[in-house]
Symmetry: C2
Subunit: 210 residues, 2 copies
Amino acid sequence: MPFLSRPEPVPLPMDCRILTISLELFVKRGYHNVSVHDVQKHAGVSIGSIYKYFGGKEGIAKALYEHLLEEMNQMVDSVIALDLSSIEQCNRIIKLLFEYTETHSDIIAFVLNSKHTEFITDKPPICSSEPFQKIRNIVQRGMDAGEIQSYDYWIATSVIFGAALRMINLRLDGLIDRPLPEFYEQLIDATWQSMEVLDSIKLPKVVSNI
Amino acid sequence: MPFLSRPEPVPLPMDCRILTISLELFVKRGYHNVSVHDVQKHAGVSIGSIYKYFGGKEGIAKALYEHLLEEMNQMVDSVIALDLSSIEQCNRIIKLLFEYTETHSDIIAFVLNSKHTEFITDKPPICSSEPFQKIRNIVQRGMDAGEIQSYDYWIATSVIFGAALRMINLRLDGLIDRPLPEFYEQLIDATWQSMEVLDSIKLPKVVSNI
DNA sequence: GTCTATATCCAGATAGAC
DNA sequence: GTCTATCTGGATATAGAC
C-alpha cells in the first residue's frame, strides 16, 4: 500500500508535490483556510501550474480524495486477499490504521476526519464509500458464518470499529500521547470479548430489532 | 436540559433567532459556506444587528459553541447527580445522546461533528472540554470501584462510547435510517459484555501497557 | 437601536508574456 | 509549458441614515 508515498526519487514530479503539500496544509489548517496562493508558495510552483494540472482548489481536493480512497480500497483488498478469518481481517485493518496514524497522520486525518461534503460537491459521505462498505461486509460475513455474534449490522460494525476510530480521533487531536500500536493488543482483547462467539458458548444470540 | 430550545414564546428574541438560524445553516452547509448575508436573510434581521450582537460570524460560532457546550455540561452533571452506578450513568448518557440525535440533530452535529478548531480560534478540541472529561471520569471511577473491568483509560472510554458515537455519525450521515433509540438496548448489551465485571467472574483483568 | 449602502479586502480564476 | 500580472466576485466589516 503506497498511500501517496512514492519512494521519493529525489525531486518529486510537480503534480505529486502539489498534492503532498496541499494534503499537509488542508489537514493542518482546514481546507477553507488554505488558499491556492498558500499551496503555490509552499510547493514552490506557480499558480498557472496548479490550474493547469488540477483546475483549481477543488480539483486538488477531488484528486486527493479519490487517490487516497483508492489506496485505502487497495489496503482493504489486500487484507481480504489474505484469507484470514473475519475476526483476524478486522484486527489486521485496525492494526494497519493504527500504524498509518503514526506514520502518515495527514492521510488518516484527511480520509477519516475531514468533512468532505463541505468542499467536494456531489460526493456521498466517506462512510458510504467502497472501502468502508467492504469493511462492514467482512463483519457481516463473520456473523453469517457464526464466527461473530449476530447483532444488528450497524451495531456490530460500530462496536468492532467504533473504539478504534475513536482512538484515532483522540490521537490526532493530541489527547492520546502514546503511539496507537501500543494499545492494539488490549483494544482487540476488549473489543472481541463482546463480539466473538467462543467455542464453549456457541449459541448465537437472537437478533431482535422489531 | 434545554439545549438551546426555549419553549418558543411566539417570536423568539432576536439574538436567539440569529443563533438558531446560524446553527441550522452551519450544520447544513458547513461554517465556511455560510455568509453573514445568508444568516441575515434567513433570520430576517439586518446585518447591523448581527454585528451589534455578535461582532461577526466568528462571534456567532463562539457563542453557539459556548452555549451548547454549557448545556452539554449540564446534561452530564444532571446524570452524575442521579447517583446511579457508573455503568448506569454511561448508559443514561448514551440514551440521552441518541434521543437528542433524533430531536435536536443540529445541536448534536455541531457539538460532536464539527471541526471547531477550523473556525474558532484559540479553543482546544472539543474532546478535551469539560463535559467530555467528566464523562471519561465516570468510566475511571467505575474502574477504580471494580465495577468496570480495568483497562487503560483511553481504551475503556473509547470502547464504551466509541460505538455510540460512531452510530451517531452514521445516523447524521444518513446511512442508518432508523431512529437511534431503537438500537439502544442491543448496543448497551454488546458494549458491556466486553467491559462489565460480572459477579461470577470478579477477577479484574491485569492491565499491561509496558 | 435598527437597517441600508458602501468600503475594503482577499480568494479564485484567467490571460498573456517568456 | 511555465510563470506573472491582472481581473472579478464575493465576503467581512463599517459608517451613516432613519
